[in-house]
């Protein structure tokens, strides 16, 4: 019986190594067959916004990293509905399918975890 892990990304892309390192941790945990969920919150929703071209200003591409999540056994990819709405985004603006959940549901989601890692 594994521990339940929730990874929360709440910063915009291009925050240096932060997101890369958080994802490395997530993929490692998933590789050890622990139940893993990923949640995009606040500016974190910009990580998976469609139509980014960071290469044009010499920054690394971010979105393709998330497309690789499908290869790993990530139990759920979640996005907070209010975080999207506050930024004028909808689920159709995202590069990967994510299940929208309400802000009011976050507390129960967090309470159900053994380990929460924010990045």
């Amino acid at each position: 019986m594994g521990k339940k892990f929730l990874f929360i990304l709440r910063r915009s892309p291009q925050q240096g190594a932060r997101v890369r390192e958080t994802l490395d941790m997530l993929l490692t945990v998933a590789a050890f067959d622990q139940p893993v969920m990923l949640l995009f919150l606040d500016d974190g929703v910009y990580q998976i916004k469609r139509g980014q071209s960071p290469e044009s200003v010499g920054l690394p591409a971010v979105a393709p990293t998330f497309e690789a999540l499908a290869l790993y056994d990530v139990e759920a990819v979640l996005v907070e509905r209010e975080s999207l709405a506050e930024r004028g985004l909808t689920e159709s603006d995202l590069v990967i399918p994510a299940e929208a959940i309400a802000r009011a549901e976050i507390a129960a989601l967090v309470a159900d975890q053994d380990v929460v890692v924010t990045g």
Binding site: R10, A107, Q113, V116
Partner: protein
Amino acid sequence: MAALHLISRSPADSRALEQCLARAGEGDAVLLIEDGVYAAAEGSGSGEILRAATGRVMVYVLMPDLEARGLDIGSPCLRAAGANNSPPSPAPALHPVDYRGFVNLTASHRPVVSWF
């Protein structure tokens, strides 16, 4: 078991406290550490946010970090905020803890969530 939320950034450069409180569950604990303790300072603008959370979550302040920044528990935000302005013994808005208290909080709450 209720969650423990750690806030380590000043309200002037991060909305971590506000964003955390928007998602914290009833009965969760919030601990201000490092630059997060500036939320307790007069003029930080966090007084209302903290007062609104009183009763729903328990808010703690790591005293060594507060004192290291020249702040004290007497700051207006740290003073007791009574429900409906009714003395005599209103619940304090913020609860001071030392390192031992920090360890106890991590032992009595799960999971621990960092906001920065």
